[in-house]
């Protein structure tokens, strides 16, 4: 059955957005990523204008991450304190990132920088996560705890010297309050430049730099994404008029259910298995972008707008 989308000004088979929503919601519940980096290009592929695809996607993520955050909160997997610090940093980073994008546009090579940031960040994060989690899966039978502590001492010595040390009960870690704020800002800058929520960057940051347990990472990441996407949705609707309400509803029908299923599945998998899966997905996306960049496109012209 086809439905007409009033803002996208196009007609779409409802199974497409519902199916895409379900798939992305599943990833969201499993890994704590918003899925914007996957869904936006898919929507464009199905004929949705790029501006509308990006804006509507963030509206949909609000629904999926509410559903996911709620499910994770019920089982005690959300570190609100950590989430708030990251949010503060992310908010500041977002403002800086938006200015950076303006500067890049003025210099005329924004697209190059954005695409290269994508490939580099996704590539590095994917490869690192993949290698690390395979290694720890091998070692996990003998000495998980030992490995953890060894690494922590290597990275953490400097962090321990910072002021404002505070305990994050839920995650079972102690950090200076500056650490999540600065890391949040860093992800915020990148997310604004790349035009995505930043979940797939935030998750590795929490796992490897903040040393939080994987299950808490997923819930906390969703909590943080929820607020980022509320802000983005409003700005997109208010300044660009590019949120398609109907498309968002179709997507969220799938994604809210998908997020719940993802959460259930996630609890059945081990943290290391989750990391390997996420690493594989990130690497697949990287390869896809590299192909897009190097193969001659069929159309040399596209609609202006979007990211």
């Amino acid at each position: 059955m086809y439905l007409y989308l009033p803002v996208a000004l196009t007609s779409i088979n409802i199974l497409i957005p519902v199916g895409l929503g379900l798939a992305v919601g599943l990833l969201s519940g499993l890994f704590g990523v918003g899925g914007g980096f996957l869904l936006t290009p898919l929507l464009i592929m199905f004929g949705i204008p790029s501006t509308v695809a990006a804006a509507t996607d963030s509206n949909q993520i609000v629904a999926a991450s509410t559903s996911g955050t709620y499910a994770h909160w019920k089982v005690g997997n959300v570190d609100f304190k950590m989430g708030l610090y990251l949010l503060v940093g992310g908010f500041v980073g977002g403002i800086i990132g938006v200015q950076a994008i303006k500067l890049l546009h003025a210099m005329g090579n924004a697209d190059f920088v954005i695409k290269m940031t994508y490939v580099l960040m996704l590539g590095i994060v994917g490869v690192y996560m993949f290698i690390e989690s395979i290694q720890s899966m091998k070692k996990s039978k003998s000495a998980v705890v030992e490995v953890r502590e060894e690494k922590e001492s290597a990275v953490g010595r400097f962090l321990k010297t910072l002021p404002l040390q505070t305990r994050f009960e839920k995650s079972g870690v102690t950090h200076s309050a500056l650490v999540p704020i600065v890391l949040g800002a860093f992800v915020g800058i990148l997310a604004a430049i790349m035009g995505v929520g930043g979940g797939f960057l935030m998750v590795p940051v929490m796992v490897y730099m903040l040393r939080m347990p994987m299950h808490v990472v997923v819930g906390t990441s969703l909590f943080q994404i929820l607020f980022t996407c509320i802000e983005v949705t409003f700005l997109q609707a208010y300044t660009n008029h590019s949120v398609d309400f109907l498309l968002a509803v179709l997507l969220l029908v799938g994604s809210t259910v998908g997020a719940q299923i993802g959460t259930v599945f996630g609890r059945k998998l081990k943290g290391e298995q989750l990391k390997v899966l996420l690493a594989v997905i990130v690497l697949i996306v990287t390869v896809k972008i590299v192909f897009e960049l190097t193969l001659t496109p069929s159309l040399l012209i596209s609609q202006a707008g979007g990211h």
């Binding site: 559903s67 398609d244 809210t256 719940q260 609890r267 193969l295």
Partner: protein
């Protein structure tokens, strides 16, 4: 006395009516006689509701026998901004700039009895903007360094529009039927793309003889959003803040609602 007056009045009315009717018929006949070509689109108003997935539009009319016909469906000309892809550092394809297209219709469909290049001279095609070549000369593309570059990018633009079903040229699909009175009937049915945005569209029909346009007729198709589609589209533009809050509100409650349902259903633990 009163009755006579009434009868007189009603007779006068009848005479007037007959005169008006005669006049109308005469007027209709005389226009037919001067300009044979007629055009009528079956849909002068296409409405977009939630279940809209394009429509079918047929154009039919009469012309003098033996004429070739060209039917052009266009939206008003306007300004379009497109992203331009190019190679960076010899290997990477990405957006390298923007191209502005002026005097460019968002939709351009052309149907003809034969190939337009074979039945119309170059000047005539340019005069009536018939065919991609003529359209290419008519539009402005900026920034382009020379004519070759303009032709290249207009070609890419046409490819893009054809991919979204908004540009099309086709010949040999117009059905023709000779009538005994020396006229011919023509008819074409075409898919109206759902990608065509709301607005006013013009259907121009050209009768062609000896490489020239000898007659021209016009009809209009209006595409409009109705009902909830119209309300939502209007709200997104005119009350953007309310629309934004509404979108967020629905997303939050949907997410929360589904969360609750799953808890109640005992789906997880």
């Amino acid at each position: 006395m009163d009755t006579t007056l009434k009868v007189q009045r009603s007779t006068f009315k009848k005479i007037m009516l007959v005169l008006v009717a005669l006049g109308t018929v005469y007027f209709a006949l005389s226009t037919e006689a001067f300009a044979m070509l007629t055009a009528k689109a079956n849909h002068d108003r296409i409405t977009i509701d939630f279940f809209y997935h394009g429509s079918t539009v047929s154009v039919k009319g009469l012309s003098d026998a033996g004429r070739d016909l060209v039917i052009k469906i266009t939206s008003p000309e306007g300004h379009q901004v497109m992203k331009q892809k190019g190679k960076v550092a010899g290997v990477l394809w990405m957006n390298v700039g923007t191209l502005k297209f002026e005097n460019t219709p968002n939709m351009y469909e052309l149907f003809s009895t034969k190939k337009v290049d074979d039945i119309l001279s170059r000047e005539e095609r340019a005069k009536h903007t018939i065919g991609y070549d003529a359209l290419a000369d008519h539009v402005e593309v900026n920034p382009t360094a020379n004519a070759a570059e303009k032709t290249q990018w207009f070609g890419e633009f046409v490819k893009f529009k054809e991919a979204s079903n908004l540009y099309k040229t086709d010949f040999g699909k117009i059905e023709m039927n000779d009538l005994p009175d020396g006229h011919q009937e023509y008819f074409i049915q075409t898919e109206w793309p759902y990608q065509a945005a709301p607005g006013a569209y013009t259907v121009s029909v050209y009768a062609v003889k000896d490489g020239k346009v000898v007659e021209q007729a016009e009809s209009h198709v209006r595409v409009e959003q109705v009902g909830m589609v119209k309300t939502l589209a209007g709200m997104a533009k005119d009350s953007a803040a309310v629309y934004g809050f509404l979108s967020i509100g629905i997303a939050l409650s949907a997410g929360f609602g589904v969360g609750l349902v799953f808890r109640k259903g005992g789906g997880s633990h």
